[in-house]
């Protein structure tokens, strides 16, 4: 089931200064993580990833994912510790046609003489806020036993 990425997180994903990591899984279930700054969110709310190398592990794992319905994850981290994770499924890859051509030209204008193997479309399935503040609040609410007691001690009264 597709899910919508909140507007502020789209803003972070589309921020060139944010760090974006694509996590895929190989045939043995071993995660493969790679920084992929080409990731962005399109107008339909889907993740778009431009793969430069046909033989890359990410590309092979994405092929496996689209063939067998497996999920991938994208982690985004921005300024001030903001981070979140999008789980999604690759639903389409463009290797020719207008969208491929657009990305081919854009990437080459940015990076110079590079090739493009494919433009992947990933449909978001779940969005998880990964920042410490959000996760800490969630944990305290859902798992009240997961705290160290010294963190709960009343602050000492200031000396007179």
């Amino acid at each position: 089931m597709a899910t919508a990425i909140p507007g502020d997180l789209i803003e972070l994903l589309n921020d060139p200064a944010a760090t974006k990591v694509l996590a895929t899984v190989d045939e043995d279930g071993v995660p493969h993580l790679a920084v992929k700054q080409s990731l962005y969110v399109d107008v339909a709310g889907r993740l778009v990833y431009t793969e430069l190398l046909e033989s890359s592990r990410s590309n092979r794992n994405l092929v496996r994912s689209i063939w067998f319905g497996k999920s991938v994850s994208v982690i985004v981290s921005g300024a001030g510790g903001r981070s979140f994770q999008v789980k999604g499924k690759p639903v389409k890859t463009h290797i020719s046609g207008p969208l491929f051509r657009k990305h081919y030209q854009e990437i080459r204008s940015l990076l110079g003489d590079v090739d493009v193997a494919a433009v992947w479309i990933i449909e978001p399935q779940e969005v998880i806020d990964g920042s410490y503040a959000a996760r800490s609040a969630e944990e305290r609410s859902r798992f009240p036993f997961f705290d160290h007691l010294d963190r709960l001690v009343k602050p000492a009264a200031p000396a007179a």
Binding site: E27, E54, S55, R60, V63, R64, I66, W67, F68, V91, K92, T93, H94, I95, S96, G97, P98, F100, R101, Y104, Q105, R108, V116, A118
Partner: protein, 421 residues
């Protein structure tokens, strides 16, 4: 599972759903592709209405004909979601093809009235509507797949001169239609080919391979010298466009002798070589390919393929099968198990010597000697794909020159996308 068990018990051919369930390691999209190739397609009026002549490639320049025998503006073929192509032919409705119709405004494959999978019509190349300096429409000189430029230098095969053309081939019929109905030159001018390729390469990111094929030409001082000379001339002219001596390219030609292979490799930018043996097994080869048998012979065809590996290198030579003809009458294997075992045995003999084998799904075409027979079951094509793919894994044979992107017509080489060699 219940349906699958019942089908196995009744020994009836498995449906696509049953094959998908039985072979969970084969991607459902590859199974679908093989089934669509096997059964063909029929376009609804709505699907044809969605064909935009400015955006989509339409049929017209095939070297081989359509299953329904017509030349008309229809989608050339289509892309699946995974980036692979389904190269298929319009097929009469009575043969139970998949229907291409619109679903939520987009072209979809339909089976039994249900939408099965979204498809995209192949994008139209920029150069198609331009004309060469001779005034010929460029699409009639060079054609294209989503990532490949096709050059069909001529459209005849001299094996037909004494009636020894292959049993499944309609190249001559198609040549006549192409010449009469579309004005396609029967023989291309190498300089004009260069002119059109130069124009095609102006489209950014569009082409990842150059491809040549034609029929066999026995003429020359040694048999096939004229065919080789002509390929060399075209490849050299096209090669002048590039800054590197070798370019990603494939030639499907006759099984040439050592000297001819050496010339192709040394005198041109060609980087891979294919000589289609069509069917594995000497008796079947003699029956279905009498011209190839007359001039070269089965064992010599195989020897030349192996010799080509010495010249072009491992992973750069293969041979193609028209899969399904090995089961036709008379003379075919008695059942699919036997056909699979014998075919893979021969393919392994080649693979162990560096030659890959790929297949296309045989599409019975009107006007051919076996055009009134049926091709094999879907399960057969899936098992064959898995078997040939497995051989490439066992002998570590890369197939990048004939894969989903650079060709798109082989379910077995689609599977190589997961290989790391």
């Amino acid at each position: 599972m219940a349906n699958l068990n019942l089908a196995i018990k009744e020994k009836r051919p498995l449906s696509r759903a049953e094959v998908t369930e039985k072979y969970p390691d084969i991607p459902p999209l590859v199974i679908l592709k093989a089934d669509v190739q096997r059964r063909g397609v029929h376009y609804s009026e709505a699907a044809l209405g969605a064909l935009d002549l400015e955006l989509h490639a339409t049929t017209g320049t095939h070297i081989f004909g359509a299953r329904d025998g017509k030349i008309a503006a229809r989608p050339e073929s289509f892309l699946l979601r995974d980036g692979s192509s389904i190269i298929t032919t319009p097929t009469p409705l009575e043969l139970d093809p998949y229907l291409v119709d619109l679903h939520e405004g987009r072209p979809f494959l339909f089976e039994d009235g249900e939408p099965v999978e979204e498809v995209d019509y192949w994008p139209r190349p920029d150069f198609y509507d331009k004309t060469s300096s001779s005034g010929t429409l460029m699409q009639n000189v060079v054609s294209a797949r989503p990532q490949r430029l096709n050059i069909f230098p001529y459209r005849y095969c001299t094996f037909w001169n004494n009636g020894n053309g292959c049993s499944f081939c309609d190249i001559v019929t198609q040549m006549k239609k192409g010449k009469e109905e579309l004005g396609i030159p029967a023989r291309l001018d190498p300089l004009e080919v260069k002119e059109v390729v130069r124009e095609a390469l102006l489209e950014p990111g569009r082409y990842a391979a150059l491809f040549l094929t034609a029929g066999s030409n026995v003429a020359g001082k040694r048999a096939f010298d004229d065919e080789v000379d002509y390929y060399i001339e075209i490849l050299q002219r096209v090669g002048e466009l590039f800054s590197v001596p070798n370019i990603p390219s494939q030639l499907i030609g006759t099984a040439f002798d050592d000297g001819q292979l050496e010339r192709l490799y040394r005198e041109t930018p060609l980087t891979s070589y294919t000589a289609d043996i069509e069917v594995l097994g000497e008796e079947l080869f003699n029956r279905h390919c009498p011209g190839k048998a007359e001039y070269i012979g089965y064992k010599e065809w195989k020897r030349r393929l192996v010799r080509a590996v010495d010249i072009f290198g491992p992973g750069r030579v293969n041979t193609g099968l028209v899969a399904g003809v090995e089961l036709t009458s008379p003379g075919g294997y008695k059942n699919e198990d036997e056909a699979l075992a014998r075919t893979l045995e021969e393919a392994e003999d080649l693979a162990s010597q560096g030659v890959s084998t790929v297949y296309i799904v045989w599409s019975p075409r009107p006007g051919t000697a076996i055009g009134d027979q049926k091709n094999a079951s879907l399960e057969y094509y899936v098992r064959l794909a898995a078997g040939l793919h497995g051989l490439r894994g066992k002998y570590r044979l890369p197939i990048g020159f004939d894969d989903y992107r650079r060709c798109g017509n082989h379910p077995d080489s689609d599977l190589s996308r997961l290989h790391n060699f």
